[in-house]
Every structure is written in structure tokens, then in C-alpha cells.
Symmetry: C2
Subunit: 564 residues, 2 copies
């Protein structure tokens, strides 16, 4: 999901104020972000190789630890030098198939567990065979261009933890390459599982190179943006040759997935004429305009198999773009959107024929009661290929809060099987997200994804909630902060009211008043049980029930006759 | 729903830093909050009386206007003097029934449309008869103590717009009376439909008086807090006499609804012993401790009918408290919670027998897949009395973001019929909300409530979204800001990137790049339709379809054979 809006704040007017680049204060360290946590590397054997798989281990004051999924990547590297080539240490590549095919889908179907599958499986706490099965069925993908050695592979599919994507990228108005690399690093610090580089304007190649060489997570792009720059912004001049040349360049750089709007067919374009907000996808509107200008079918559709052939050689995954997604509540789930979705299903199966991995993009703006239909239809029409949605936003009326309006839809659609959620920041529809906005967007989407994991009953998800709630109940304030999704913010909010260190040791909390305390009550109950020589809830319940029954029999004042 | 946590930050330790009261900068004006809006008073006749019903009318640059629900109350009054007594101008009261009963429920059942019903109906855009029917059936309430003349009545029920509650109130650590009145005024500015005063500590009576006399929205309290202060915090010393005396005092002040934890029965208390977080409701834990100490049944339960008799004389509504609500994901929907809910159903029917209006409180912390069950069970067990929930939070791991974790649950439970949503602020579990936190909490819950209205297909809800989306699509930036739920924030976020005024006039937006623009594409499509002398979507579609079919027939490169 491209969320293409975000870096698209270009103007047709020349009289705008010059934009000051943001001040680039250094990022806080891993230790500052996550006190009492350290990177723990699980060693996983595959053949003669040993993979070192990262987790974040949180140390509690009780001596216990809890391991959380870690996206933060290797620490302590100079961004101007890039990250080490982790996958280069994994020994010789597996032999390619016919025509040089080397995709995870090809190997999975051949029954081969790749290091990438084993690595992703260990992060999830599942078997590598299970990952292989899901990839082979097309229900999951491991975006992993063979030219992206810095990658720590991850698996995206409904059987796994729900993943989130953050969007970065500079624009004509915007920021510098170091700022974009900082946004990448900040995104993965807070939990982004994938990142899209949506850069436009100058320096598009160099920006991407800087991002690729610093990214331990899969990087996605929308190649039509660069193709359009190559024809100086004249949509009519776009050709399949220029597009393929652009793909080749980006394949070589190591991009892991491409958003390609091959489902915007000419017959769907008129269906958008009476929409309230027409076509809001940048890629979608480019292709729609191309189709209209030439009175021809979308060249990404008519040359789809050539595109597959190129992508299979690098193992770049498709993210089939929903160029006709709704841009407002009124346009949700309309004919244009659903017509395109059916085409994306056809294209999914064609890509699979070429051993190319596929996920499918979805909306956008959808009222809550129409959200679930989106993922159910997508799963049906696209043969269970992973779904990747932008939110969806469940109302249009709260610009400035669209991280929230969209997280509501994202949690519901994630619970029902969407595999990857594209974040939305508070600046959506209004301006360019800065580093703070990126953090808020990522944290908000981690909430959506983790809440969906809980609702799906994903193994291990609830252990995190239980550890934090236990710390809360036992007044272990430091543990509560350290287990929080955003420890510095939790601590700062607490300290605003009660800055003294004593407050973090006192049996003092927001669940407690001066005259009573929920923890003490529960202790009373537990003491009562012990004192009466009975243990366990059931025995106690019996005893108390007797007393209550006796009370009732004695003629308590209450008459339980049902009223009107 | 009491969300009792929020002002409960008292300490058992004496060594805490002294808390600085917040600086009390003056509130911004109505005009600053809502540029290009004005209060519009609809005149509604009932008998010989004319009611003036407020709406907020937003003026657009197109000359159009849109009316939005308004909770902001009369403007320009000195908080030290209080608001005028609106309801005192509505002529003589209706004749009371037997025993002095004068509740909305009594009148509704008698077939009488009260001014309160007519007023609330006009705000919703429905007939007064419809409101009367819903109140008579117990499916809706109009909390309106006859001693609260400042009230602008509102109706709470699943057939109406979803409402939201904000919590304010001082505490031993906390703020001053003027600060709490400011929080009240700030709450209703941003859309709170009801407000609970959860004050504890000193000045509890005076604080409430200041709030009552300044509130155009229904005010709720948890009377057990004040009763406990009267016995110097010794739970064992609480009696029904002290409780009734406290109720009487608060009835006289004009409190519109009382949270009463009459469902915390002694037999349920042991069921909480093995919970991860025991009892987290303050009222619930007080009553549980009282039951255990005395080995007696909850006196609020055994004297429930006496309480009803008192409340009917003032028309104070019940908000039956869920004292055993879960305090974490692990404890959701357990035996204690659901056992109490069944008792609340019994109590609902008893209150109805006494003509007392009732709503029922619900959780709390619930994973997304268990959310809907809560409202469905409540509606069944409580004979469709309105449900009033606190969130629920769908994960425990994000302290600092619990406005978001809870708005996700709130939107879903609102969509399925919950009538009133109690807000949660970012400070939940961590400290005392300040004025900024109150605003964020209210806006977040307005998002949840409005999104639920959209999903329920509530008449008129979508007109707001459509107006904003149309403004967005047509680059009417000022209209987009003015229609936003929080205009100053939307404008400020936009201006961070593009401060120049030119940017608000340019055809410039985040849906647009330098080389293309979704609006122009749609214009191209519309122009094409016009040029070819065809109008409407269907005709166009046919034309384009033909071209597309022709392309395919000519042997386009694409082979649509389904792949593996």
C-alpha cells in the first residue's frame, strides 16, 4: 500500500514560502528508547550454517525476562557506510531453477527451506517448515531481493504476526537524504516491519541507495514515480521500455517489493467519474491518464508477464497496487474498486505462474461496517495472497488525527486476516510527516497490529500484555514503563504528575485512592481464602455463595420481582 | 462508566514532590476553536412553548452551510456566575405522578412528550414521538435532574447518535476548582455529551456545585466517593444511611446520573481472587471490601429499592456500575464480570418498576474478538437498557496511547449498539490528565462515536464526511480546516509544512504531484464524457468497455491463463 499521498505535496504555484529543512538532532540510542532491554541473538542452525536471529529481551525487576519481536536492526553502524551484508554470510546461494529463477516461492514449492524462511520462522517462534508451506501456497511472502544483503528477512501472511509498513521519502519541497535515512532508522526503532521509499524529485536514485544500504527491513517502492521523472513528468511519454529500464535499475539496488498499478484498466476509469473524490492514488491516476490519452489499455497490464520475468530473476515481490482505491467514505467498496480487485486476483495467479511472490494492496477510506468485506473479498478473489491495506480510515472528518481514524479500521481488518498494515501519520492529507510524526504513526500501527494479533489468538501475543498488566497490578512502575510500546513516553507522562523517584517505588497508582486500593482488596480476598483453609476459586465461591443464600433466605430487603 | 482511575492518584507515601498546579491560561474562544462557524438556534414548538435548540452551523466558501451537533453550551457567561437556567424558561413542570414521580420514563410511558424529549429530538433531527417511544421502552434515557435547570437535554440510546463522556474532577494531588470548571468547558467545546465529576478529597461539594452551575450537559458522579469521605475513608463504616444522605445532597445539587455499584455481590468477590489484576474499579473495590469485612451482602443491592425511591423524585438516572470489570486483557469476559452483568439486568428491571431511567456500565480491557459479545450480552441480559462502556482498550501494552487503544474498541462496540462511550486520555494508568489531555481524549472519542454513527448508517452522519471530502477534492483548504473535527490542529499541521497563505489558495494538495493531479484526471474523465455527448457513468462504461474488448480481441499481449 503506497499511501502515496504523503510525500506528494508539490505545488503548481511558485509563490510558496521556502521550506526550512527540519533540524536533524541525533536519534536517541537503542538503550534510551528501550531501558532494561538488550538485543538477544537466537542461534538457529540450517544445514551447516548458523543464523543469528534478533529478539529484544526485556529484563524485569523480578528477574524474569520477556522476548519481543525486534525490527531495530544492527546497532552502532555509521549510516554513511551502511549495514553489514548479513545474508552474504549465509554461504552459497541455493541453485537457481530454470531461467535463473531463485524466488522464495520457487524454493518453497520445491520443498526447500531457505535461510530466509528459517530466519523469519525463528523470529515468529514457528517452524521453518510452516513458513515454507505458507509461502508455497502463496498465502505468505518473504520479500527479499537477492541484491539486498543487509536484510533481516520477515514473513508476511495471515498465519503470522501482523506486520506494519512506514512510508518515507523526500520530495521537491522536502528533506535531505540524511533526514530520510534517519526516518528509516526511526521507523524500525519503533517497530516498522517494512518501509516504502516514496521519493520523488531529484536524487531519487541516490536517496534510494542510502536507504537500501541502511535497511534491515524489506524496502518497497512505486517505480512509476521514477519512470515519470525520466520522461520529465509527461505522462503520455511513458512506455513499457522506460518502465522496465526503471525496474531493472531498482532491482539492481536491492528493492524488495514493487507497487505496480497493473489493475487500472481503461474500462474502470469512467466508473470513477461520478465519485466524490475520483482517483486518489498517484500511481492510479498516472495510469488512468495514460490510458485516456492513448486510448489504450494500461501497459503494465498488457506487459505484465515481461514484468514478472524481470522480477523473478531478483526475487522482487509484487505489491499489486490498488490505483482505484476510494479516497473517501462515500466512494468505499464501489464498482471501480472491486472491479480492479478482481483483476488483481487474475494478476496474482499469473505472477505465481512465474514463481513471483505477490501481495495485494487495499484501501483507504472505508466505513467500519464495510471494512471486513474488503479482506474477505480480497482473500476470495486473490486466492489468499497476503492483503496489504492503508488503514483504512473509518471517517473523513478528522484531519490531524488520521493515524487514529485509520488505526481503527486497520485493527479490524488485521483481525480478519490482513497481513500488512500501512501506517498513516497525523500529517496525512495536510503535510509532510517529520520524524515525530513517523514515530506516532509507527507506534499507532504497532498498537493496531498487536491488537489484531491478540484477537487472532496468535501464540505469544498475550504474554506481553500479561507481563505489563502484572507489573501494573504489582506497582512495578519501572517494569511497566520498560514493557510499554513506547517506554520514554510512558515514563514522561507519569513524571509530569509525579516527578519524584519515590513515586516509582511507592505502592501508588492510578488504580488506587487514599482509602482503598484494588491490590489490597484482592490481597484481602486471597488472605480470606488461605485463612479458611480453602484454596482455589471454586471452594471460596461455594463458601461465599452459602452466606449469600443464607442472607437471601433470611428475608433481605431486596425483592427481585422483574419490573416492567 | 466511571473510568475511576483517572483522578485516583493518591499516595501512601509522604515523600513525593509537591505538585505544581497547572498554569491556567484562558480558554480560546468558540470563534477561535471553530472559525467560520456560528451557533444557530432552531426554534421548536411544544404546546405554547418555544424551545431554542442549538446547532453549530459551518459556513463554507461555496456559500453552502452544514449544521453539526453542538454541545458547547451558552457562550459568554462568567463561570463564577454560572449559566442561565434554560429549563426554568420552559414554563410550569408537568404534573407529577403518584408519589411525586416526575421522571422522563414516567412521562414517556404515560404518552407525554416532555420539553426535554422535544429538545433532544430536535438536536438529533428525529421526531419527539420517536424519542418518547425509545425512552418509554427503556432503550434510551434523558438524564435530566429537575434540579439542573442549566441543562440542554440529550438522549442516550442505540437508536440515536453515539454519545461520549469525559471525566474531570480534582483529587488530593490535583487541581483547583477553576481548573476543573475549565476542563468541563473544554470538554463540551470539543464535543463531550456528558461529563462525570469524579472529585475526591476536600471541597468535593463546592467543586461539584461549580461544575453543575456551569454545565449544559448531564453531569454524573460516583456518590460512594463522597460517602467514603464522610466516614473518613474507613470502608467498614459505610452504611446505607450515610449513602442515602449523600445521594440526597447530590440530588439537590442537580446531578443527572449516579454510578452505583449495586451488582458487586459477595458471591462474585472470590471469583476475582485468581484474576491477573483483581478488582480495578474503585467503587467495586470499596463494595467488595465492605462485603468481606462485614460478611454481608452489598448494602447498595439490599437497599436498591430505597435508592430508586429517592432518585425517582429528582429524575436522576442510574448508571449501574460494573465494579467487577476486567482490568486487563487476560481478565476480559470472565465469570465475575458476566455474573455481575446479569445482576445489573435484574436491577435495571427493578429501577424501571420505579420509573427510574437506567443505563448500564461496561468494560474496560477487552481483546477485539471479545468486544461485540459484551454489548450483545448486555443488551440481552439488561433488556436493551443503554450500554455505557469505558473504551474498551484492546491491548494493555501501550500506556501513553490508551486513548488510541481504547478508541479502537469503542468504535467497534459503538457500531454494535453501545450508546455512550467514556473517553480515555493519553494519561490513563499514568497520571492526571491536563486540559490538553482532555481535548485529545474528547476528540479521539468523537472520532469513535462519529465513525460508529457512519457504520450504523445514522441519518445525516455521512453528510459531514461528504462535505469535508468534497472540500478536500476541490482544494478548498479553508473549508477543509473549518469542517475538521479540530480545525486549529488541522490548520497548524498544514501550516507546519506550508505556512504561506498562497498554499491555501493554490491547487495544491497531498493528493497531487508536480506532474499530475487526481482532480485533473477526474476532470479529464468528465470532459471525455461530455465531449462524446454521453452523460452518466453507464454510457461511458459501455464506450470504454468496447474499446477494451476490441483491444483484447486484437490479440493483446496479455494471456490471462490462471497460474498455479
Amino acid at each position: 500500500m503506497t499511501n502515496e499521498n504523503q510525500n506528494a505535496t508539490h505545488t503548481h504555484s511558485e509563490d510558496l514560502a521556502v521550506i526550512e529543512p527540519q533540524a536533524a538532532a541525533p536519534l536517541e540510542s537503542f538503550e534510551q528508547s528501550f531501558p532494561s532491554s538488550h538485543k538477544y541473538y537466537q542461534e538457529v542452525s540450517i544445514g551447516e550454517q548458523t543464523l543469528r536471529v534478533p529478539h529484544r529481551r526485556v529484563h524485569l525487576s523480578t528477574g524474569d525476562t520477556i522476548d519481543l519481536y525486534d525490527t531495530t536492526g544492527p546497532d552502532g553502524y555509521d549510516p554513511t557506510q551502511g549495514l553489514p551484508g548479513l545474508r552474504n554470510t549465509w554461504g552459497p546461494s541455493l541453485p537457481p531453477g530454470e531461467g535463473g529463477v531463485c524466488t522464495q516461492l520457487f524454493h518453497a514449492r520445491a520443498g526447500t527451506v531457505t535461510p530466509e524462511m528459517a530466519f523469519a520462522a525463528a523470529r515468529e517462534g514457528v517452524s521453518a517448515e510452516f513458513v515454507r508451506d505458507e509461502v508455497a501456497a502463496g498465502r505468505a511472502i518473504i520479500p527479499a531481493n537477492r541484491m539486498h544483503p543487509e536484510l533481516e528477512p520477515t514473513v508476511i501472511g495471515k498465519a503470522f504476526l501482523v506486520k506494519i509498513n512506514s512510508n518515507i521519502g523526500n520530495s521537491a519541497l522536502g528533506s535531505s537524504i540524511p533526514e530520510e535515512v534517519d526516518k528509516l532508522r526511526w521507523s524500525i526503532r519503533w517497530g516498522a516491519d517494512t518501509v516504502m521509499d516514496l521519493s520523488t524529485g531529484k536524487d531519487i536514485h541516490r536517496t534510494r541507495e542510502a536507504i537500501m544500504r541502511n535497511s534491515p527491513v524489506p524496502i518497497g517502492t512505486v517505480p512509476i514515480y521514477q519512470a515519470l521523472e525520466k520522461v520529465n513528468g509527461v505522462i503520455e511519454d511513458l512506455t513499457i521500455e522506460i518502465f522496465l529500464e526503471t525496474l531493472q535499475e531498482q532491482c539492481e539496488q536491492g528493492v524488495d517489493y514493487f507497487t505496480i498499478h497493473a489493475g487500472v484498466l481503461i474500462r474502470f476509469v469512467p466508473m470513477t467519474a461520478e465519485r466524490l473524490t475520483g482517483i486518489v492514488s498517484r500511481g492510479g491516476s498516472i495510469m488512468a491518464k495514460w490510458c485516456l490519452s492513448h486510448h489504450k489499455e494500461n501497459f503494465l497490464y498488457t506487459h505484465f508477464e515481461q514484468i514478472c520475468e524481470l522480477m523473478r530473476r531478483y526475487d522482487v515481490s509484487f505489491s499489486l497496487g490498488d490505483g482505484l482505491r476510494p479516497g473517501c467514505i462515500s466512494d468505499a467498496n464501489d464498482e471501480a474498486q472491486l472491479g480492479e480487485l478482481a483483476v488483481l486476483g487474475e494478476l496474482t495467479r499469473i505472477a505465481w505462474k512465474h514463481d513471483v511472490q505477490v501481495m495485494v494492496e487495499g484501501p483507504g477510506h472505508v466505513p467500519l461496517h464495510k471494512v471486513v468485506e474488503n479482506v474477505e473479498l480480497q482473500q476470495e478473489l486473490c486466492s489468499e495472497a497476503p492483503f496489504y491495506t492503508l488503514g483504512p480510515l473509518v471517517t473523513d472528518v478528522a484531519p490531524g488525527y488520521d493515524h487514529i481514524t485509520s488505526a481503527i479500521g486497520a485493527t479490524l481488518i488485521g483481525t480478519h486476516g490482513t497481513a500488512l498494515l500501512c501506517y498513516v501519520t497525523p500529517k496525512e492529507h495536510l503535510g509532510l510527516p517529520d520524524r515525530d510524526d513517523v514515530k506516532i504513526g509507527v507506534i499507532t500501527y504497532k498498537i493496531a497490529a498487536h491488537s489484531a494479533d491478540l484477537a487472532k489468538g496468535h501464540k505469544g501475543a498475550q504474554a506481553w500484555d500479561d507481563a505489563l498488566s502484572k507489573a501494573r497490578f504489582e506497582f512495578r512502575w519501572e517494569d511497566q514503563f520498560n514493557l510499554a510500546m513506547d517506554p520514554p513516553t510512558a515514563r514522561a507522562f507519569h513524571d509530569e504528575t509525579l516527578p519524584a523517584d519515590g513515586a516509582k517505588e511507592a505502592h501508588f497508582c492510578s488504580m488506587c485512592g487514599p482509602h482503598f486500593c484494588s491490590m489490597r482488596i484482592t490481597e484481602d480476598v486471597r488472605a480470606f481464602a488461605k485463612e479458611h483453609g480453602i484454596s482455589g476459586e471454586k471452594a471460596l465461591e461455594v463458601g461465599m455463595q452459602e452466606r449469600s443464600e443464607a442472607f437471601k433466605a433470611s428475608g433481605g430487603e431486596l425483592h427481585m420481582t422483574p419490573g416492567a
